[in-house]
């Protein structure tokens, strides 16, 4: 039995040494090629990594975009400790491409041993992930791999054996369990680890109650205090509404046709896809404050309310995160998801427009919003155009289980958990349905 392994997001941002930009691009290209051709590449040896990517981007605040590429981002998701992950990254031959890549950055110290240099470099350039979502918290890469293997064995078994309609479901399950014990003798059954969970509805209620509580408390202390608080909230809302009405939108004439092929050429290689997106935050401390508040809230909700494989109804996201960068002037979004871009963005619009508008309404050129969270992303065509406009090219993207969807991973997990559970007829029938 294993204990709970949490997953962590990592974002490293560093300045590129302008003289080494072409070397860097070349190295990234090599790494990218070795991944898509399924050649021997270093990520295969870093067992704790689910996803990793390298992105280089130009100044998001440049007056004349796109400016010179000037920053490198290394981002990923790993399970367990950062040190374990870094040790694997810097061990033996694995270190070589990382050393070549990071040595193209300004602050990389080539004078010290590479393993130390990389570790110091990464730790020195860590950025906070301000809101982070995980589609299957608690499932380590080990578990996912093992459970996928068990699913494949079951498929093989059902290919070899035929069952009659009258066969007892319990008998079939027993046969499967026996087969798995033969095929995977070293298999250690794991136990489900329950996560703290609050239904999204209750979470919303709780937030509402807390707010009301604060107001009521203020009223008890002194009516003036209540008055000041109410006036403050009214002021914020009034100011926000005014900003919303004057915020510039991306004009309809600017359909980003030309930029799209450079992005789409790397899409749809696997069941999974990725998105990197960088946009300037609207000017002023006010917008930044609102953005930080919304991200903080989403981070909490993602941890305690959306931890059952879906983020606001979207069940195709493996990991996604927002990070405020560039001296709090730009917002970076990274996502690893299932299916096509169009499918993902449609899910955004149809299922999660409110949350996404809450975040991105604080960035530039976003479709017109209303009351912070309404309209905006619900303006489907303009929202998609806007997303493509600020999407940036991901030079290197690695996924450890590129052909497994979130649903596949969670299904495999349920199947594997069920192998060792006593079940009644109904439960057995449901379990067999998963196969």
């Amino acid at each position: 039995m294993k204990t709970f392994t949490d997953q962590n997001g990592l974002i490293v941002v560093a300045d590129i040494d302008a003289n080494k930009l072409s070397i860097l691009c070349n190295e990234l290209q090599l790494l990218h090629t070795s991944i898509i051709t399924k050649a021997d590449h270093p990520f295969r040896k870093i067992k704790s990594v689910y996803f990793a990517r390298f992105v280089i981007f130009p100044d998001p605040l440049a007056a004349q975009p796109p400016g010179q590429l000037f920053r490198l981002v290394y981002s990923g998701t790993y399970d367990g400790q950062l040190d374990t992950c870094l040790q694997a990254m810097t061990a033996g031959e694995t270190i070589s491409p990382f050393q070549k890549i990071f040595s193209c950055c300004k602050d990389y110290d080539p004078a010290i041993p590479p393993a130390t240099a990389i570790t110091t470099f990464i730790k020195g350039h860590l950025q906070r992930v301000d809101a982070y979502y995980s589609g299957y918290r608690g499932l380590s890469t080990d578990i996912i791999g093992k459970e996928a293997e068990i699913y494949t064995h079951i498929q093989q078994f059902l290919r070899e054996r035929t069952f009659a309609p009258a066969d007892d479901p319990k008998f079939i399950k027993q046969e499967i369990v026996q087969y798995i014990h033969q095929q995977v003798p070293d298999y250690n059954p794991i136990k489900a680890v329950p996560l703290p969970y609050i239904k999204p509805v209750y979470a919303g209620l709780l937030i509402g109650l807390l707010l009301t509580g604060v107001l009521v408390l203020a009223g008890f202390i002194h009516l003036y205090l209540l008055g000041i608080l109410v006036a403050l909230i009214a002021g914020i809302v009034f100011y926000l509404r005014r900003l919303e009405q004057t915020a510039p939108e991306l004009p309809d004439t600017e359909q980003e046709v030309a930029a799209v092929p450079s992005l789409t050429k790397d899409e749809d290689f696997y069941a999974q896809n990725q998105l990197s997106h960088l946009v300037a935050i609207s000017p002023g401390r006010f917008r930044l404050g609102v953005l930080r508040t919304v991200l903080w809230l989403i981070n909490l909700l993602a941890k305690y309310s959306f931890n059952k494989g879906a983020l606001g109804g979207i069940s195709t996201i493996h990991f996604a995160g927002w990070s405020v960068l560039e001296k709090e002037r730009a917002l970076l979004f990274f996502s690893n998801f299932d299916g096509s871009w169009e499918n993902y963005l449609s899910d955004f619009v149809d299922r999660a427009a409110v949350g996404l508008t809450g975040v991105w309404s604080n960035t530039i050129n976003f479709p017109r919003t209303s009351w912070l969270v309404f309209k905006g992303a619900a303006d489907e065509e303009r929202f998609k155009n806007w997303t493509r406009k600020y999407q940036i090219h991901t030079q290197v993207w690695y996924s450890a289980f590129e052909e497994l969807t979130v649903k596949n991973i969670l299904r495999n997990h349920r199947i594997t958990l069920g192998l060792n559970q006593e079940m009644n007829d109904m439960q057995t029938k449901k379990w067999l349905n998963l196969l």
């Binding site: 069952f163 169009e342 067999l432």
Partner: protein
Amino acid sequence: MQFPKIEFGDIQGLLIRSYSFLPEACYVMLQFTEQAQVRAFLADILPGITSASHKRPDLAFHIAFTNTGISRLIPQEQLITGFAPEFTEGLNTKTRSRILGDFDTNAAEKWYWGGNHNPQVDAVLMIFAKDSAALENKYQDTAEILKRYNITEVTRLNTMNIGSKEHFGFEDGIMNPLIAGVGGSNARYKAEEEQNVVMPGEFILGYPNEYAKFPLSPRIKTGKEDIFDIGKNGSYMVFRQLEQDVKVFWEFIYGLSENDPHLQGMTPELIAAKIMGRQLNGEPLTPAATGDLKNFFFAEKDKDGYHCPIGAHIRKSNPRDGIDDDPGLSVKMVKKHKILRRGRAFGAPLSPDFDPAAMRASGNNDKRGLYFICFNAQINRQFEFIQNAWCNNNKFDGLNDDIDPIVGFPFREGVFRNSAFTIQGCPVRKKINNIPQFVFVRGGAYFFMPGMQALKYLANGPSSLNAVL
């Protein structure tokens, strides 16, 4: 609810009706030469184009343009907002091929028309007639006109009236969205029909869509301040020639029924029905009211796919209320991915009465299939979405490796790979493996079918606007 008022007089009729009362049809692909001649040609044929205000014409005549055809008539710099990127790019390009799975056996390099190695197609004329004599008459007249204006006929595609079935032998054309407003602004629909009532802006530019937004429409600068919405009352038309290998289909099905130990006791007709999601006579596998072929729901009666498998063709291309665990939201979402189907068959049936055993045994090698034609306001969110995110997606709705067995193509690999099909059921699912390809893409293009005012503009240039606006 008040629906938007539809301007029938400005819409080409094919958008509103499929002309089942005009069983003969042909499509003529054109290539343009000089702009002046194309304009004159358009002016010449314009009075003959059938608008949607003709409820039951004796003959219908339509025109639609590809991007090359449009750009021959409208210089790029005149457009303030352009046509949709998918249309501008064209069906036979790399990005579109990747999305649709037009690789390998479907590759545009091998197409009969519209492909990378074929003559350029600028426009299509579509003729619908009561009988073949009337069709031939209109075609001959049209051919004369084409000659007069030095316009080349690239190819003529003849449809075949094979009745209400498609070539594999299934009843076809059962489902088509009901456009809100076509039955009048106050039209009422039965409760069970609601899931199929879709806002006009999903199919016709210039009306609100399912997001309560107007779809982006190409607009032309016609003067200092004047703008002409050339997209209004027009629609994007997807045209794909899909060849069906009927013999291979039934051979494969019979092979399963006779030899696969997992499928013992299942007749060929039942296996085929599982793959399609309907019986040969059109009856849905999912329990529905007697005689109602259209209105049924997956979530309530068939959540696990015990009747209609989750990967069945009709469930993949129209999941209704079945996506995830929220039927209401599923219906709302599916409405955003609907198309108006207007296709017709080509080639004679492999067996005159569509008898599966006869089709399996036949040695006839003639080409047959479907001229797949559909209308939508946003190709990427509608037609391409259905093909890509649903049919071609082997992971659809939690499945493991099931592409649509009828029209799916595993687009990620770039080559056709036999995929699997899962028949959910008790006590445990059955799986069909190594399914060959039954449907092949043999040609196609993305068209834009303009409204009548827009056609006038294309024919006469900017001068026509003073007269009409």
